[in-house]
Amino acid sequence: METILLIVSSLLVYMTGKYNPAHATHTYYETLRIGGLAFAVVLFTLGILLILSRRCRCGIKQKPRAPGDEEAQEENLIVSKAAKETPPEN
């Protein structure tokens, strides 16, 4: 997660550095495009990571749970299945 945040912030720095009205419109649009695309890619990766990280965390979390705690476990199971199923839907 930290690495991603680092990339985002460095990108922002990069963008703001280049954000200069003195540049020609064409260069500005070029920067805007790259920035926007990077933004999209980062968001998308974040989303994917979110789902994957959920599954791992869930796997660790479930083991120590007491067997009597059925209700909570079931709820968790539903979500974990959901997570596994979603990627092909996209």
Binding site: L32, G36, V41, I48, I51
Partner: protein
């Protein structure tokens, strides 16, 4: 097949009459005839059988002895149903209107805009793709169905011209003389002419869990109850029998049920009705908007053709393009989730039906019970002991220390012909296969469990003589050597009908000591016997005696035909009673259904006493509730004097049901909360289901036997058992419990209710963005501004950014305990109601449109076109030849430059909608609770938020988009135009929900709670 040929020339009227005929009881009369009369009727001989010529003639006349398979729908019909059913109609209409509009434009304009054409094509593509998707989904589950079919050809042993021949069961004809033995499947309906210890398992036909003996005598007027008829496709458990075939193929009792089942028309599923209602609402709104603006356009001076194109444009803009796919995916996800919990759903729409269910009619045998006899109670030492009947032996054990128990277990083990089949040492005792009678195997398993190896016990006490059970003696006895090799006495053990056993006893064993049988003990016995019998259990009595050595010395020749030894003055040891016990998970599941407001009715073919006992055991008749008979017995008054209103529970016998009028039936179903129907025929089960449906209930039926299948088919949702269920019942059902566990139904109800709630949220979310999509077009018409949002961008929202978030709402957890509320009322609680439309269209949608327009005006103003100048600019703006249009600051704009600004506005409007949809998604998570109560645990939803934003950024910034979709990069600041509106939506809806929670039943709830 012959039947089918007969029927085909008839008109439809004939077919409906046929159905009514099938609903009536079985018309078999042969059981009342003598064997000779039956022979005469079928021109056969009781020794020689049919002649080959006659058999061939009959085969030609009646057709083969096989069930006509239910008419299968051809694959292409199934596909078309997916393609044109339900929601698809709306999209098809939209597509056709688009093509129509394009045709008009093409005919009238030189260079028609391609928008309508693209839209039409996209709509068609969406329907076709979604249709294919759901078709393959259902094909997958029907493939699993195929695997259930076992295609083993049946053989039958017939006697023709005096010779025994093995023929294919399909070639059996009426009049054939047939022989069946233990383990055979009965090839047709047979009038038994001779039998030797023959027992048949009728459970799939009548629901009785115990095997029934067969003999040549007519014992009952009802052909289903009489002893001398054996039915097609039931199993012969033991013994042998010979009989004359009286019916074959579709004319058999089983065949009539199968025909009745396949002929039943089923109504629409609740969700299909809801979607239809939704389509009505959407169409209403669309047509209203369309016509209003059509009139406005005419007033404003547009030409007729232009106005018609606007009309079509507005109507099509109301079609939620993505919703069909969303609903299908949501249902599929739930179906998958249920399949993982062992509920296989055959029809996608049936996923929700269990959630709407208000009545469950459950079969008893095999569904609520384990379908195996088990020792339930014992009476010894003048005390009733309870045995463990749970499937996994987790129940409490009784006191095994008494000497009497040792004697009782010895008698039960020795006087018992059942034994475990070989090679099952590794299998747990309860799961082992046993050769022998059901109650004897129950005893065997019980003794094996509590006292260890029965075989060792039998080896130690060698059997010397035995009299097997027969119906005149009503007892079974055997003589054994004793365990002690120095003791030369013989041990006589006997079991049988308790009253017969008691008659033969002069003493009784108490705490291991023999005591004389006095009146007091006899009364205690009677009480125990009555009590156990009243529990619906089958009671057996046990006694033994050590034969005196002086009369019966070692090597005494026991003669079992001409009994030459003592069979009275025995010592009574105890009673053991057996029952087919309820499955462990059932009482809990019934309780959960109760608290979820679902009425559970038991409908069984078994006897009333057993049915009532099981109903009490599983909570279908709850503790403290009495039937009319119970009240009468308690108050000691005749049944007729009891007010039926006082009794909440009732047990109704099938023969009484036959005489009830429709009104009386409705009365019973309405006024009793806890109902048990016993001794019901398959036809009556169907009538019960129809009765419940007539009262407006959404009925689920669970069952495993052939006798349940008409009811399964007729029910709103039929639930069959995957392991024990018959093929016919699985064919008729909509859902299959793969683990046969009734508790899975609760899962089904829960998932069904959850998906109904979540579909509401999904629809609310998807519909909201319709308003910011339509209003630009309306303003374009009314105030002549440059078009703020184009068709392509609308499609990008509906089929792009909105999809994942809408689907993610299917993963939303329930807001409150959905199993604690009443089932929805199909007349009142709709999937989509006016309140939902009012929220989505009238409130949130309007704020969203404001946000979009704000971004639009900001961008145009930044480029020099102030809002005041935009009004009425449309004609000049869209004029290709005008290349020097001046803005508010006097700058001149060429056509192409203007268009770039316009499409940048489209992109900004699109991005604004995405931004306001963030807030919409978060408020749609809940209908009553605050988001802060619900939390953001739904990670798919968060993924959806990220994904839609990423997609929006991608569409805006990807090089080449300006050519492909005419979308342009936005300045970062333009993204923030809609932020305040997004925030406003969130605050507005949180406030609404706060008021709604604070004033339950208040104005806000009445007007805005969807």
């Amino acid at each position: 097949m012959g039947d089918k040929d007969d029927r085909s020339p008839k008109k439809k009227k004939g077919a409906t009459k046929d159905m009514d005929d099938l609903k009536k009881e079985v018309p078999i009369t042969e059981h009342k005839m003598s064997v000779e009369e039956v022979c005469r009727k079928f021109q056969t001989d009781v020794v020689q059988g049919l002649t080959n010529a006659k058999a061939a003639e009959f085969l030609l006349r009646d057709g083969p002895n096989a069930l006509t398979p239910p008419p299968t729908t051809p694959e292409w019909v199934k596909f078309c149903r997916q393609l044109f059913g339900g929601f698809s109609i709306l999209l098809w209409t939209g597509a056709i209107l688009c093509f129509l509009a394009y045709a008009i434009q093409a005919a009238t304009e030189d260079e028609p805009a391609g928008d309508n054409l693209y839209l039409g094509i996209v709509l068609t593509a969406v329907v076709v793709i979604t249709g294919c998707f759901s078709y393959f989904q259902e094909a997958k589950s029907s493939k699993i169905m195929e695997s259930f079919k076992n295609m083993v050809p049946q053989q039958a042993l017939v006697i023709r011209e005096g010779e025994k021949v093995q023929i294919n069961a399909e070639e059996v004809v009426a009049g054939d003389l047939i022989e069946v033995k233990g383990g055979d499947r009965i090839p047709a309906d047979i009038r038994v002419t001779s039998a030797h210890g023959c027992k048949v398992d009728n459970s799939s036909l009548t629901g009785e869990s115990e095997p029934q003996s067969r003999s040549p005598d007519c014992t009952h007027d009802n052909p289903l109850e009489t002893r001398n008829v054996a039915f097609f496709s039931t199993n012969c458990v033991e013994g042998t029998a010979r009989g004359i075939v009286i019916c074959t193929g579709d004319r058999t009792v089983m065949g009539r049920i199968a025909t009745l089942t396949s002929g039943l028309e089923t109504g629409k599923t609740p969700i299909a009705r809801e979607i239809e209602h939704f389509i009505h609402i959407i169409t209403g709104v669309a047509v209203f908007l369309g016509v209003t603006f059509f009139i406005l356009a005419i007033i404003l001076g547009y030409t007729w053709l232009e106005a018609v194109i606007f009309l079509i444009g507005i109507i099509v803009a109301n079609v939620p393009e993505g919703l069909l796919a969303t609903v299908t995916v949501c249902l599929t996800l739930t179906a998958k989730r249920m399949a993982k919990k062992n509920c296989l759903v055959k029809n996608l729409e049936a996923v929700e039906t269990l959630g709407s269910t208000s009545t469950i009619c459950s079969d008893k045998t095999g569904t609520l019970t384990q379908n195996r006899m088990t020792v339930a109670h014992m009476w010894f030492d003048n005390q009733i002991h309870e045995a463990d009947t749970t499937e996994d032996q987790s129940g409490a054990a009784f006191d095994k220390s008494s000497v009497t128990w040792l004697s009782l277990s010895r008698v039960a083990a020795l006087c018992n012909r059942a034994q475990f089949k070989a090679g099952q040492d590794s299998v747990s005792i309860l799961k082992r296969d046993v050769a022998g009678d059901a109650s004897e195997s129950a005893l065997l398993k019980c003794i094996e469990l509590s006292c260890g190896s029965v075989r060792m016990m039998r080896d130690k006490n060698k059997k010397v003589a035995e009299i097997p059970f027969n119906s005149t003696n009503k007892y079974q006895l055997s003589v054994h050597e004793t365990e002690d090799p120095n003791d030369n006495r013989y041990l006589l053990v006997m079991k049988g009908a308790p009253e017969r056993i008691l008659d033969r006893c002069s003493t009784i064993m108490l705490q291991g000591k023999e005591q004389p049988m006095d009146e007091e003990m006899k009364e205690a016995f009677q009480n125990a016997y009555m009590e156990l019998g009243g529990l619906g259990e089958r009671v057996l009595g046990f006694c033994h005696v050590l034969l005196p050595e002086d009369q019966y010395p070692k090597g005494f020749a026991f003669d079992t035909d001409d009994v030459n030894f003592q069979t009275d003055n025995l010592c009574f040891v105890g009673l053991i009673s057996m029952i087919d016990p309820p499955r462990a998970a059932v009482p809990d599941a019934v309780g959960k259904c109760r608290s979820a407001g679902i009425k559970v009715i038991m409908v069984t073919g078994d006897h009333p006493i057993t049915a009532k006992a099981i109903a009490k055991g599983v909570g279908i008749i709850s503790e403290g509730n009495e039937t009319v008979e119970d009240i009468a017995a308690r108050l000691n008054i005749p049944v007729s004097q009891v007010n039926p209103r006082d009794a909440k529970a009732c047990v109704i016998h099938g023969s009484d049901l036959k005489d009830l009028s429709q009104d009386q039936m409705d009365d019973i179903l309405r006024n009793h909360t806890e109902i048990v129907f016993a001794r019901t025929s398959p036809q009556q089960k169907l009538i019960i289901v129809e009765g419940c449906q007539r009262l407006g209930a959404i009925v689920a039926v669970t069952g495993d036997g052939v006798n349940d299948s008409p009811a399964l088919k007729k029910a709103d949702i039929g639930v069959a058992m995957g392991i024990s269920g018959s093929d016919v019942s699985k064919q008729a059902a909509d859902m299959i419990l793969l683990d046969d566990n009734f508790a899975s139904i609760v899962t089904g109800v829960e998932e069904g209710r959850l998906i109904f709630d979540n579909l509401k949220k999904s629809i609310a979310y998807t519909l909201t963005s319709n308003i910011p999509e339509i209003t630009p077009f309306l303003f374009f018409i009314i105030v002549n501004i440059p078009l703020p949002l184009g068709t392509i961008t609308i499609l990008c929202i509906d089929l792009g950014t909105d999809m994942v978030p809408a689907i993610s709402l299917a993963y939303e957890a329930a807001e409150s305990d959905i199993m604690k509320r009443q089932p929805r009322n199909p007349a009142r609680d709709k999937l989509v109601n006016e309140r939902l439309i009012s929220i989505a269209y009238g409130q949130i949608g309007m704020i969203q449109a404001l946000g979009g327009f704000f971004a639009y005006f900001v961008i145009l103003a930044e480029n020099g076109f102030l809002p005041s100048q935009l009004v009425g600019i449309r004609l000049n703006w869209d004029d290709r030849s005008l290349n020097d249009l001046e803005d508010s600051y006097g700058q001149q704009w060429t056509y192409e430059q203007r268009k770039i600004v316009e499409f940048t506005c489209h992109t900004a409007f699109f991005v604004s909608i995405v931004v306001v949809q963030w807030a919409d998604l978060i408020i749609c998570k809940t209908r009553r609770n605050s988001v802060f109560q619900q939390g953001m645990k739904n990670k798919i939803l968060i993924f959806g938020l990220f994904e839609e934003t990423a997609l929006a950024a991608f569409l805006s910034y990807c090089p080449g988009m300006d050519v492909a979709l005419r979308m342009y990069p936005l300045k970062p600041t333009w993204w923030f135009c809609a932020f305040p509106y997004s925030f406003l939506i969130f605050v507005y809806d949180e406030a609404r929900k706060l008021i709604l929670r604070r004033n339950p039943g208040g104005w806000v709830e009445k007007e805005t709670y969807y």
